[in-house]
């Protein structure tokens, strides 16, 4: 795979506070995150000429951002419809717009009042934006089956039955994310410690998933600015480049129940392409930011991006491997499970800050390459390999 994206750089990152109750509109949150990212990059927002707005229909659109950021000429805007995999997939759209010469500065932003508006489990809202909505409406919703926690619990259950993966192993993911959030003042769960006993005692939502297997609901905004390497050199920070980028979709993309191989997801196809572009493999990654909508999805994505063999993920997450100081620190910010749910844009922001060496007590020493995954809808996937300036 041609290494076509490596001169594309992330030069600015910005986020609002992550709260339960922002008392601000989605548009306000998006604009605040975008302005913070511009300030971090050292550009004026009017210089942006490409915008990749949130994929949720209720959030800010490109025109909202153009008007409020005083963008003079918006040459490109598009939305990657891969649910939670959209944030990483939008880096691919940004790269295409930059490599082609169409744009100079591209903004990718996520903003949501996920807590205040409770969009995450609203079946009627979700079904309207899902792939295969005719199947969801006719063959799933009438049976009381309509939310992500249910779709993915079926996959988790199958893995647990087939490979002996345990609730305690799922709990190891939740505990590692919480431990990292305890080191991150920006995290919603910064001040709250979590024990295995508390994890195991949390109330069931859709078994095998209990409350503490599920990501947070968050109000907030998160944004990045991308540009080309020649422009990046003149900006404030050492650039973080896009060594590899890919999106992937599995067989039976419109129906999870009838997918032959339930564990094969979009990431199964995207990760090898992203690694191939970077000329690197999983063993070369200094950390990984994995889209942790639920605990088992971390195990599944570590397997499907070849950090460990299929079926071994439960054991892989158990020995401290995924904690800071382990062989592969995962979600050093606390992830969607304990930092906040910004649809994975916060995973990209954390990877950039790690590669710049800005993470203080949670800094991964000598971080040079970080893998970032996205997961969305019925298992759509995206993968990025980010490279620090010191690599």
């Amino acid at each position: 795979m041609k290494n076509w994206s490596s001169d594309v750089c992330i030069v600015g990152v910005g986020q609002t506070d992550f709260t339960r109750g922002s008392r601000r509109s989605n548009i306000t949150l998006a604009v605040q995150a975008a302005l913070a990212a511009c300030a971090d990059a050292g550009i004026d927002s009017s210089e942006i000429d490409g915008v990749l707005p949130p994929h949720q229909g209720t959030s800010a659109c490109a025109e909202d951002l153009m008007a409020n950021l005083r963008i003079r000429e918006l040459k490109y805007s598009t939305i990657a419809y891969l649910g939670g995999a959209s944030a990483v997939a939008s880096l691919q759209s940004a790269a295409l717009a930059l490599v082609s010469g169409l744009c100079n500065y591209v903004l990718a932003v996520r903003a949501r009042n996920g807590y205040s508006e409770r969009t995450g489990a609203n079946a009627d809202f979700l079904i309207g934006v899902l792939p295969g909505s005719q199947f969801r409406r006719n063959f799933e919703l009438p049976y009381g089956f309509s939310a992500p926690v249910q779709w993915y619990s079926l996959m988790a259950k199958r893995h647990m039955e087939e490979f002996g993966t345990t609730r305690e192993q799922l709990g190891r993911v939740a505990l590692a994310m919480r431990k990292h959030a305890n080191l991150n003042p920006h995290a919603q769960m910064h001040a709250k410690e979590l024990t295995m006993a508390q994890y195991l005692a949390s109330r069931p939502i859709s078994e095998p998933y209990h409350l503490l297997d599920c990501c947070l609901e968050t109000d907030g905004g998160s944004a990045v600015i991308l540009t080309t390497r020649d422009r990046a050199r003149k900006l404030r920070h050492l650039p973080v480049s896009l060594a590899g980028i890919a999106e992937g979709h599995s067989e039976s993309p419109d129906d999870l129940v009838n997918r032959r191989d339930w564990l094969s997801i979009g990431l199964t196809r995207a990760a090898p392409r992203a690694f191939d572009m970077a000329g690197l493999g999983p063993q070369d990654m200094d950390a990984a930011m994995i889209y942790d909508c639920f605990t088992f999805e971390v195990i599944q994505q570590l397997e499907e991006s070849s950090f460990c063999p299929r079926g071994e993920g439960g054991r892989f997450v158990s020995g401290g491997n995924i904690e800071i100081g382990g062989t592969l620190p995962v979600n050093t910010h606390g992830g969607l499970l304990s930092e906040g749910h910004l649809s994975g844009m916060n995973h990209i922001v954390e990877a950039v800050q790690q590669l710049r060496g800005q993470c203080g007590s949670r800094q991964v020493e000598n971080a040079r390459h970080i893998f970032v995954s996205g997961w969305g809808d019925l298992g759509d996937g995206s993968a990025a390999v980010l490279r620090g300036a010191k690599a």
Partner: protein
């Protein structure tokens, strides 16, 4: 419970023969007349060979348990009084791997395990709609 029960749109053109069949206690799926592959859920084109030519064939209303979840929190207000309930995925016998999702009928979720033989239970909602749920096959008498 004032919430409206979510029911399938049984006259959705691609799916209509399936819902017509459940009313008489049958499971019908699409079969490609070009390559012979059967498929579900119903789509316009064959996922194996791409042909648009199709007939509908009946499958035995039985299979084995592929996975399940026990839902404790209603995601749609209609099901608030039904929780906790189990949703099962059954792989149909003789269906080339076709799977269907429905509610567990008349059994304790604690007794479920992968591969458990299952049989369809047709739940008539009204004159237009019959849903398909699943129960474990009764054990054969020794």
């Amino acid at each position: 419970m004032s919430a409206v029960r979510p029911l399938p749109t049984v006259d959705y053109l691609d799916h209509k023969p399936f819902w017509d069949a459940t009313r008489s206690g049958k499971i019908m799926v699409q079969k490609c007349t070009a390559c012979g592959a059967v498929r579900f859920p119903p789509r316009p084109a064959c996922t194996k060979c791409g042909s648009l030519d199709v007939e509908w064939v009946e499958l035995d209303a039985k299979g084995h348990l592929y996975s399940w979840t026990v839902t404790h929190v209603a995601m749609n207000p209609y099901f608030a009084d039904a929780v906790p309930y189990a949703v099962v995925v059954v792989e149909l016998a003789g269906g080339e791997g076709i799977r269907m999702l429905g509610r567990l009928a008349g059994a304790d979720p604690g007794a479920l395990h992968l591969g458990l033989p299952m049989r369809a239970v047709f739940e008539e909602i009204d004159e237009r709609v019959t849903l398909v749920n699943w129960k474990p096959e009764p054990k054969p008498r020794p």
